[in-house]
């Protein structure tokens, strides 16, 4: 009797749960469909790809950009320039010295593969609303205390679930998923440079675009090799003081500034992002200096995103940045002369839409980070006044 009663109870509970789950799914589904009118009949740009082949263990691939100093290898990929002893792993946690040679542990084994819309970069002036195959490998050379992908970036390839995707396979998946291109994101694409460059080459041959999301903490040489393969590069300029870079990211500022200049000079499409962290880099005076530096070095046409901080990783103790702060920063940046300044992480905010700087008409209306439901740019020009808007539109 007792048992029976329990059984009855659990069954009833099960039915209840199932019913509520169904309702929940329906509820969450509805606004999804309602909000994305543009995608009716089309696939939603953000999709999880199932049935990817998994990799059982970490494999080593000879790395590029290093020198032998006799007793160590000197990694020349990023401005940390680590000298690694036999068996040692760099602070990026993906490049290792085995038998006096440097190897990459993440070649052909990304730990995240998904389709994303390019707005998630955020990259706003490249094929708006386009679906991209976003790839990320484990490991990072920075130690950002507010990393949002720390489960992937602050770990080794041993500790992540990796997929077995050689460059050609990845590109064929991108084509299969109807992607416009490859988006190197989540962690640091320049660290798995051997893999990134091979993917980029294969993607270009297949007629796909390459866009990279990076903190650009990388040496001049690999960057100069990587840039010709890209269509767009989005660089994080996380702060504008050496102190911030040292204290919050365990890195230095000057190589990043150099990379931004190099990327601009290469003629590839560049966008710059700054995330405003309360109390750490939200000083309007510093921010103005940053905007002025950008104005001088990359010019007024480079889009600049001022992104809102949410508590993450080791900065869970800080409040998220207020929308008003981000809007104030945006205003400062606009005052210095930058034409395309966007707010990030502020859903529904008008600051994420693109306006023609001349006639003031709204050209691109964005919904969150995932979709675009108004696109008034024709052949790279404003549809209303024919002013050309910089970007990669086709």
């Amino acid at each position: 009797m007792d048992e029976n009663f329990e059984h009855d109870n659990s069954r009833r509970e099960f039915l209840k749960t199932a019913a509520s789950l169904g309702i929940l799914t329906a509820c969450s589904g509805c606004p999804l469909i309602a909000d994305t009118a543009v995608y009716r009949g089309k696939d939603y740009p953000v999709k999880v790809i199932s049935n990817l082949p998994k990799k059982e263990s970490v494999t080593l691939k000879p790395a590029k950009y290093w020198k032998d100093t006799g007793s160590t290898v000197h990694c020349l990929l990023c401005p940390k320039y680590c000298q690694l002893r036999e068996g040692a792993m760099g602070p990026c946690r993906i490049r290792v010295n085995r038998n006096g040679k440097l190897y990459s542990t993440v070649y052909g084994s990304p730990c995240i593969v998904a389709t994303n819309s390019i707005e998630q970069g955020p990259i706003y002036h490249v094929t708006p609303g386009g679906r991209y195959l976003a790839v990320g490998t484990a490991g990072c050379n920075l130690r950002c205390k507010y990393c949002q992908n720390w489960q992937y970036s602050q770990t080794t390839a041993d500790d992540t679930t990796n997929y077995d995707l050689p460059p050609e396979k990845l590109v064929s998946i991108a084509k299969q998923m109807n992607c416009r291109g490859i988006l190197f994101t989540f962690t640091e694409a320049v660290l798995c440079i051997e893999y990134s460059m091979d993917i980029a080459r294969a993607a270009r041959e297949a007629g796909l675009k390459n866009a990279v999301i990076t903190a650009a903490y990388v040496d001049e040489e690999p960057l100069a090799d990587f840039l010709p393969l890209l269509d767009a590069i989005r660089i994080d300029l996380k702060g504008f003081t050496e102190k911030f870079y040292k204290d919050v990211l365990a890195a230095t500022l000057s190589p990043v500034l150099n990379s931004i200049k190099t990327a601009k000079a290469s003629g590839k499409w560049l966008e710059v992002v700054n995330m405003v962290v309360p109390g750490l880099n939200d000083d309007p005076v510093e921010f103005r200096k940053m905007a002025e530096w950008l104005m001088q070095n990359v010019g007024p046409l480079t889009p600049f995103h001022v992104s809102r901080f949410y508590p993450a990783y080791k900065l869970r103790n800080l409040p998220s940045a207020s929308v008003s702060t981000v809007e104030r920063m945006r205003k400062i940046a606009k005052e210095t002369g930058l034409r395309y300044v966007y707010v990030g992480n502020c859903p529904g905010n008008d600051g994420q839409n693109t306006y023609c700087y001349k006639c003031g008409q709204m050209l691109i209306h964005r919904i969150g980070y995932v979709s675009v439901d108004k696109m008034e740019i024709r052949n790279g020009k404003c549809r209303f006044c024919n002013t050309s808007i910089p970007g990669v539109w086709t």
């Binding site: 032998d68 100093t69 006799g70 020349l76 401005p79 320039y81 000298q83 006096g100």
Partner: protein, 376 residues
């Protein structure tokens, strides 16, 4: 003794002490099993020293002229006084042996060939920007080592298809005997001998060295006494003296300069260096501008900007130097050799590829201009 299954105080103390003793001795026991092979006793007598009586010796290899008591070593850490006899500790015991493209160290020597790079522990300089400090700024006992006699080194070079042996990594002056023995043997076997040195050496050993070497790279790191004093702990005069003397010997000379951000990556350095080179070693001597990467005690400096290096290269060329190269890059750029007279490309060397276009017996096949270097 046991009361209700408990142990007495004395028993407890006994057992705990025994346990602690076992725990404490465990690491010692395991260490004994996995001990590294002991560093061999010094067996090869050093050259260039004099006894001072009372078992003291004076090293006369390099200008510091260390006075060394019994059982002590010189400032290099690899030459030891044993009962009034001076030994070279690292003879036949290199720390690093690698087969590498010769272009890593020499640009006017056997283009496109492989070389056997050898380096031992110890150095007679203490450069704050050393990038091989794990070997050079340590005692040989603390660095890895392997046994490789001069004969074995030559055999290894032959087996690996190397056309030369190159002493590099640390300053090979400190393993002078090993280097000279290997070089003399190399010559007998038709293999070229090369070395990369900072040039802190006395004149007599240097003249011995130039007799057995085919080409020497001398590092000219800075142009001021203060630079050498503060960053390398040595006297600048000796270095320039070495380059001057090598240029007047039968041995080929190349000059290498690390370009360090904020210290010598400026126009002044190029101006002074190119003027000095034109006056003292000649316009045909190759000059390697080597990119600096933060290392050792200069981790806080930025790496050399490639733009700056290219500007310096252009400046040096317009100042009259014929062969100026950018070296130590992760990915070798265009290091082609142009004829100093007709500017024809005699050796095409872009990235890893190397092709000899017009070089016959060390001369440009177009105009017959001799180009300094080791060509065959």
């Amino acid at each position: 003794m046991r009361v209700n299954g408990c142990i007495s105080r004395r028993e407890f103390l006994h057992q705990t002490t025994a346990g602690i003793a076992v725990c404490a001795s465990a690491p010692l026991l395991s260490n004994q099993g996995a001990a590294a092979p002991a560093f061999p006793e010094p067996a090869v007598r050093a050259r260039y020293w004099e006894p001072l009586g009372n078992n003291l010796v004076r090293c006369k290899l390099e200008p510091r002229q260390c006075e060394i008591g019994d059982g002590e070593r010189g400032v290099c850490g690899v030459r030891e006084n044993r009962g009034g006899v001076y030994y070279s500790v690292v003879h036949s015991l290199p720390s690093a042996v690698n087969v590498a493209p010769v272009e890593e160290t020499f640009l006017h020597a056997l283009p496109g060939s492989k070389t056997l790079q050898i380096g031992t522990a110890g150095c007679n300089l203490q450069c704050k920007f050393c990038n091989t400090w794990q070997m050079s700024q340590t005692r040989p006992e603390e660095a890895p080592f392997q046994r490789l006699s001069p004969q074995q080194a030559i055999d290894m070079a032959k087996n690996q298809g190397c056309k030369s042996v190159c002493f590099t990594y640390n300053d090979p002056v400190v393993c002078f005997e090993y280097m000279c023995d290997t070089a003399a043997l190399a010559r007998k076997n038709g293999i070229k001998a090369l070395c990369h040195t900072a040039g802190i050496i006395h004149d007599e050993p240097l003249s011995d060295l130039t007799k057995v070497m085919d080409s020497i790279v001398v590092d000219l790191k800075g142009t001021t006494k203060a630079f050498y004093k503060e960053l390398c702990g040595v006297d600048a005069d000796r270095v320039y003296n070495t380059a001057y003397r090598v240029a007047r010997s039968n041995c080929c000379l190349e000059i290498a300069s690390p370009i360090i951000t904020g210290l010598n990556d400026n126009k002044g350095f190029v101006t002074v260096m190119s003027r000095w080179m034109l006056q003292n070693v000649g316009a045909g001597v190759p000059w390697q501008l080597r990119r600096f990467y933060p290392a050792y005690q200069m981790m806080d400096l930025a790496t050399t900007s490639l733009i700056t290096m290219k500007e310096m290269q252009e400046m040096a060329r317009s100042a009259g130097l014929h062969h100026v190269y950018l070296c130590n890059l992760a990915r070798p750029g265009d290091n082609s050799i142009l004829c100093s007279k007709c500017k024809e490309k005699v050796v095409q060397r872009i990235a890893e590829g190397c092709e000899i276009l017009g070089l016959k017996e060390g001369k440009c096949s177009q105009c017959g201009q001799a180009i300094k270097g080791v060509w065959q």
